[in-house]
Symmetry: C2
Subunit: 334 residues, 2 copies
DNA sequence: AATATTACCCAAAACGTTTTGGAAACGCAA
DNA sequence: TTGCGTTTCCAAAACGTTTTGGGTAATATT
């Protein structure tokens, strides 16, 4: 149905070789014929088939975007979408197509994500929204497929990653609190099998130690990154140490839950207890008081991942770890 | 580099025809050979090339997902992401790949989105996040490419759409307010060149008329769907009609802005002024008081769009308008 | 014994490109 | 005349599949 290079060749009275050459900037086609071919092609609305092109060139110029399980990440959609936008836009600029792929897809069809990619001859893949304990992690780790992970610190022969500096970010958040003269600062962390939790704990400890303050284990409590969890964790923390003057949360959602509990318990924010979250979710600017938080450069994470991937693809660059700085967003809760 | 059907054929000592037949469920291959071929294929890690397959079959089994300009929709990311998840998941189940595409991509490379799709031999396209006055709209309208729009009420020979019932939704929102005995209900609408604004106005009017209440033009004010706009519009409305007892907003963001102003102005919510929004953004459940709103079934919009598209593709179904019911989410602000 | 049927298998063409290795035509120098 | 460079063009192979239209041998039917 669609018009082929052969149609153009026939209509212009030349060979398909000539048409191909005219399109691809070869020098061995006369000015006169070149103009004619191009005109005919335009008239016929000719568009070269990428699939035929991919077949002969043995490269598809397209990469996969693996988003783990789409619905498994409630509350982090804003994050994923911004990163996705960055990935797509940069990749488009660089001439690559991006094909969506989720682990549910693969599971539904009982196919590994590697198989999915090789069938489609995807040249690389960017992975995001995946937890370290996801069974697919092993696959991306050992794969010979070129890949870069978002917030997945695995570095291997063909696999780089980009993430934000979580220890630095947490450190900034706590330092901010310290600068407001808080000394008994609670920390509500996420579960410890998440990489970010470990790093943020490090940042928390580092900030205190820089100031010569001993880390008090009673001030640290673990939760699950979500609102309810933050609420309960805050209750537990207040029970144990009613004298905290500030709480640093490893996620905004937990901070939101925490603020809810604090307000119920009659503590004013920030006068009685200051609150700092982590993630810079949209919600943060609409709660009262607006939430101080440390945010990630989401869009930039996407563009960086895109650039790293094509670097590995085109210039055979080594996979590396790209860590971006976090950015403090100071609002009214602290 | 990757292993081809020829490699398998050679290793199994059969022709490529036989390998192809063995893989595709033909009956004319012996049990013995079939088993051998499959085993060899597995050993060699053979994966049939989709691009070769697409070329000969003349169909790619993949569709485009056009997201207008990615960054042009601040605040509606959550919406787009959920829809995207629905689209992708359903499409994957139905055996289609989805390729990302934004109008910025096309603009960058000075290529129309139609050309983008035909070059890649995409079989159809789902369009979302686009405004009716976007210059690309004309293209999707006259395109011969099979397509379905999200929240884009254009119906043509090859083009269907899915959207939520905005007049019904607005009607529900206002009826809810009426049921709480409010009689002077303000309406902060979006700009009128957005289709949804016109429908929501209709719903507002219908609800009042059903109750025998005259529509008072002084109670209606236009804004821009965003927070600041809602804030100003609310100020203007209160100025003009200080006696309103409830306000219905055409977007949650405007409602958020409105609540901010109301609280500044010393009006209690919902005691003095009840508030109902539209969209069910995540934020809504975290502000105090939590925002009553009318929401769209975002994920379901995605799956519906996916189903409509493959219906048109595979069963030659006629393009149709699929309108989903809105759902009231009642919280504390009303 | 001849013929029809069945069960397996395969060669070759096709899909729409790119690229290689010339060929034809021409001008120019020997 | 011959030989040689240029310029402009093209035929054919290749990419990895699917599908058509057989073919061969063994078995069943007459």
């Amino acid at each position: 149905m669609p018009v082929t290079i052969r149609d153009v060749a026939r209509a212009a009275g030349v060979s398909i070789t000539t048409v191909s050459h005219a399109f691809n900037g070869y020098e061995d086609v006369g000015d006169e014929t070149k103009k004619r071919v191009l005109q005919v092609a335009k008239d016929l609305n000719y568009r070269p088939s990428r699939v035929a092109r991919s077949l002969v060139l043995q490269q598809t110029q397209s990469v996969g975007l693996l988003i783990s399980d789409f619905n498994a990440n409630p509350g982090s959609n804003h994050f994923l979408f911004d990163v996705l936008a960055g990935i797509h836009n940069r990749l488009a600029e660089l001439g690559y197509d991006v094909t969506l792929l989720s682990t549910t897809t693969a599971r539904q069809q009982l196919i590994s994500y590697i198989d999915f990619c090789t069938e489609r001859r995807l040249e690389g893949v960017i992975v995001m929204g995946m937890r370290m304990d996801d069974p697919y992690m092993q696959e991306v780790a050992d794969a010979s497929l070129v890949s870069v992970g978002i917030d997945l610190p695995i570095l291997s022969r063909h696999c780089g990653y980009v993430m934000t500096d979580n220890v630095g970010g947490a450190k900034q958040g706590v330092k901010h609190l310290l600068s407001k003269n808080h000394r008994r600062i609670g920390f509500v962390n996420g579960h410890l099998h998440a990489v970010v939790s470990i790093d943020r704990l490090r940042g928390y400890e580092d900030a205190l130690q820089d100031e010569g303050i001993a880390v008090d284990p009673e001030l640290i409590v673990h939760s699950d990154f979500l609102v309810e969890g933050g609420e309960k964790a805050t209750a537990a923390l207040l029970e144990r140490r009613p004298d905290v003057t500030a709480i640093f949360y490893a996620s905004d959602l937990m901070a939101l839950g925490g603020m809810r509990h604090l307000q119920k318990a009659g503590r004013r924010i920030p006068e009685d207890v200051a609150v700092v979250g982590y993630d810079n979710v949209d919600v943060g600017q609409w709660v009262v008081p607006a939430l101080t938080t440390v945010g990630q450069k989401r869009y930039e994470m996407g563009t960086s991942a895109a650039e790293m991937l094509v670097g590995m693809l085109q210039r055979k660059e080594e996979p590396r770890a790209c860590v971006l700085q976090a950015e403090m967003v100071i609002r009214q809760s602290s």
